[in-house]
Amino acid sequence: MRWIAVLATALRRLRQRPVRTFLLLQGTIWGVAVAIFPSAVIQGTREAARSQGTELGADRIAVRADTTPDNAKGLRRADLATVRRAAEADGTRLLASGALRVARSVVKADADGAVPLTVLETFGAAEPARGLSLAAGRWLAPDDGPGKCVVEAGVGPWLEDPSLAPGDEIQPAGWPTPLTVVGVCRARSAQARQTNDLGFDLEHPLYKKIGVPLLFAMGIMPVPDDWKRTDCCVYVRAPADASDEVHWIFLRVPPDAVSTTANRVRDHMTNADKAIVTQYPLVLPLIMGETVDRFAAVNLAMFLACLLMGAVVMMNVALLSALTRSREIAIRRTEGATQRDIAFQFLVEGFALSLVGAGLGCVLGMLLAHIRASLEPVAGFTWSFPVREGSWAVVLAVVIGVLASLLPALRAANQDPVRGLADE
């Protein structure tokens, strides 16, 4: 009961001077905010990459031939087996793999700027390897003839047949034979459709401004592969007598294994004297890896620096207030308050101050995390409240706050009430 009364007194004092309280709390607020905002972004993005990895491309590696060496060789059908072997060499679980050749693009005659319909000839399980999922029907089977097809969600509307379903027949303009639909893919989210193989959100306002120059500076050039983002592709089995050439090989592996698998595939292909380029989201493996945690530790230093500054200011102010409130303290002592009560009152003030500051810091941290995440032109960059780091930061902030009020509390408690009153 008495404790609650003391706490109420402390909080009332804070409320009486809100501006001063707010200024006082700067250190705690910023310290806590700085401590938790990187963790919030890292954790949120990790969760997103794990839960919607397929959607974001976090589990996907796209392989194409490097066309710049003068002895450049295109990818062949047999390379799919080599790539698969290389990917699995380390015991990595291959979720899906397949190759495809961009066979034909059909542009609507009557619509300028409309997305083209693209027919892709596949080897292996190219459709699931591209991260698609089925809405109805089945994937193409190895023994399906060239007359069967799987269509992406946009194909029906493109052909002005929104109810396109397995069993229907379609005839893309210029394609030699009619195709029987065996599977229809689920529509991909807008986010997935505007994300490229490198994990960048092509529609993000900062992509063109920062993303493209940065990629250029890193020696990574854009690839003409708009068909990947149209959601208007028709997958057919490559006929047995078709050309041996493939344009893309896609692999899906667990998100944590993407980077190492891609490196291994590249090394294997180099040893087979074939120059290739491997593309996967650049930022997500970094976020998933452990290096970034090491860098988040830098923030711990800033957190402590802020907290220390905050503690010093709080201590200083509390010391002054112990001095200027000597009259009040003396009166309270004569009213029967013990030395412990006085010390306790100061400690509770410190506790309440730093708790309020830490709370505000959490809110500010989330705000910073939100701003940071929205500034990144990377698909899947988001944030979530880091419970573990957040509670650590709050506990530490409160402990340091209480410690800072220890000295003032002792000073106040040890004041002689007679002198405090006689001063006047």
């Binding site: 001063r20 200024l23 700067q26 250190g27 910023w30 700085v34 490097d66 066309t67 710049t68 060496p69 003068d70 002895n71 295109g74 050749r101 961009v102 490198l198 920062i210 493209v212 120059p213 990629l215 250029f216 500076a217 890193m218 020696g219 990574i220 050039m221 854009p222 690839v223 050439e245 344009h247 980077s259 590249r266 090394d267 180099t270 004297d273 120059a275 380029v277 491997t278 593309q279 996967y280 650049l282 930022v283 970094l286 290096t291 090491r294 860098f295 530790a297 830098v298 230093a301 800033m302 620096a305 220390l308 500054m309 010093v312 200011v313 200083n316 102010v317 010391l319 002054l320 200027t324």
Partner: protein, 432 residues
């Protein structure tokens, strides 16, 4: 006047000494702020300068002509060979260009006596190739026109010659001192056949922060052969190693920046401009000025470190706010003293000056204490994140400047507040 000023300053200093604990705490706050500032300067700006120096070594006056990096399937390859080199020479007539063709392959490379092989770029180029860069030979010598190319086979005595990039030598011979790599033999593949090459020289590594850079370099797999050349982990071979087929690229070295601009203008009249992204898949040869690429690289690291610096700057700002709060509260508790001094004849400006002197003195003292604190802090951080850390006298000077500035800024409000006090009001309230 001077004596008056002196006495005011003396009064301010006296106050600092008279309240040691209070001054100490304020100084401590600015010490932390300065420690943070020292870190900001030495980590961010030091690194910035180093990176600018690094990229200058990539050859600022070199213009590259190469194949488009993103040929769409079925698109014809534009020819690149002696005819195109001759054409470039004709286009650049009068600019005195040095034209250096190269042929480039990726290959697994293994040092003899080592177990692991590394995937590296093999660059076959004439001896003039070194002039496209600005990197010194660290050990041994550069390639000469009479260096042997060797013969296919693993047991053959016909060993060719090669020069390694510093980072390549480190990868191929991890346990060997760089100077001792000269004279060793590496096994690699030329057109699918094994070949042995003796190392005649090692180039120094232009990338000071290679380790840091490579930690974050997830994009290496997405780079084409041509662009991975500039990661400087190459094996340089005699020009004739890959026969006389087409070139992978042509580097053109010009006399100065003005000639580079002129040359680029002339070349993009014939071939595609690398700055125009649409042209990269146009099927034409692409012209690429290294200097511009460096500027792009510099700008993007600048942007990156600006975002990083913002957080640190924020902390300095927070420190200023806190010190200011501290002063403000201290001044409030000193109403009586200020009022008395005004009665004694002190002017408003004297009071303001006194408060400012106090603020600056404590901030300066704290700042000086913060310098070693920052030094230790940055060294600790370097241990944790392997961040490059440089501590220089001029950084300390700037940080001290920041400390004074911090003291000055944080005193403005309290000083104004104290100066505006009405002595009569303060004292009359006190007496009632």
């Amino acid at each position: 006047m001077n004596r008056r000023l002196l006495s005011v300053v003396g009064e301010g200093l006296l106050h600092v000494v008279r309240h040691p604990l209070r001054s100490l705490l304020t100084a401590f706050t600015s010490a932390i702020a300065i420690a943070v500032t020292v870190n900001v300067i030495s980590l961010a700006f030091g690194m910035q300068e180093d990176i600018a120096g690094d990229v200058d070594r990539f050859g600022r006056n070199t213009v590259d002509v190469g194949l488009p990096p993103a040929l769409a399937p079925g698109m014809p390859r534009p020819p690149l060979g002696a005819a195109q080199a001759a054409r470039a020479a004709a286009i650049l007539d009068g600019l005195d260009p040095l034209i250096v063709p190269r042929r480039q392959r990726a290959s697994p490379v293994r040092g003899e006596g080592q177990t692991e092989s590394e995937r590296l770029q093999l660059v076959a180029a004439p001896p003039t190739y070194l002039r496209t860069l600005n990197i010194p030979v660290a050990h041994g010598r550069w390639l000469r026109s009479d260096d042997p190319v060797g013969a296919p086979g693993t047991e053959t005595d016909a060993v060719g010659a090669c020069v390694l990039d510093g980072a390549a030598a480190e990868r191929i011979f991890p346990q060997v001192a760089p100077a001792a790599v000269v004279g060793r033999v590496v096994a690699l593949r030329v057109e699918g056949a094994p070949r042995r090459m003796r190392v005649v020289g090692i180039l120094s590594d232009p990338l000071r922060y290679r380790e840091l850079f490579e930690t974050f370099d997830e994009g290496k797999g997405a780079r084409t052969l041509t662009s991975s050349l500039l990661s400087f982990r190459n094996v340089y071979l005699p020009e004739a190693t890959f026969g006389d087929g087409p070139y992978t690229g042509i580097s053109i070295v010009l006399a100065d920046g003005g000639a580079v601009v002129e040359a680029q203008e002339r070349l993009i009249g014939v071939w595609a401009d690398a700055r125009d992204l649409a042209s990269l898949s146009s099927g034409r040869l692409v012209v690429f000025a290294r200097g511009q690429w460096m500027d792009a690289l510099g700008a993007s690291t600048m942007q990156g470190s600006m975002i990083g610096n913002l957080v640190w700057m924020l902390i300095v700002l927070v420190a200023a706010i806190m010190i200011s709060t501290l002063h403000l509260i201290t001044v409030r508790e000193r109403y009586d003293e200020v009022a008395l001094r005004r009665c004694e004849g002190a002017r408003r400006s004297d009071i303001a000056l006194q408060i400012t002197v106090e603020g600056v003195t404590t901030a300066l003292l704290g700042g000086l204490a913060g310098l070693p604190l920052g030094y230790v802090g940055a060294a600790l951080l370097r241990e944790i994140v392997q961040f490059p850390f440089r501590f220089e006298f001029r950084y300390a000077l700037v940080a001290t400047g920041v400390a004074v500035f911090l003291g000055l800024v944080s005193s403005v409000l309290p000083a104004r507040h104290a100066a505006r006090l009405q002595p009569a009001q303060v004292l009359s309230r006190r007496l009632t």
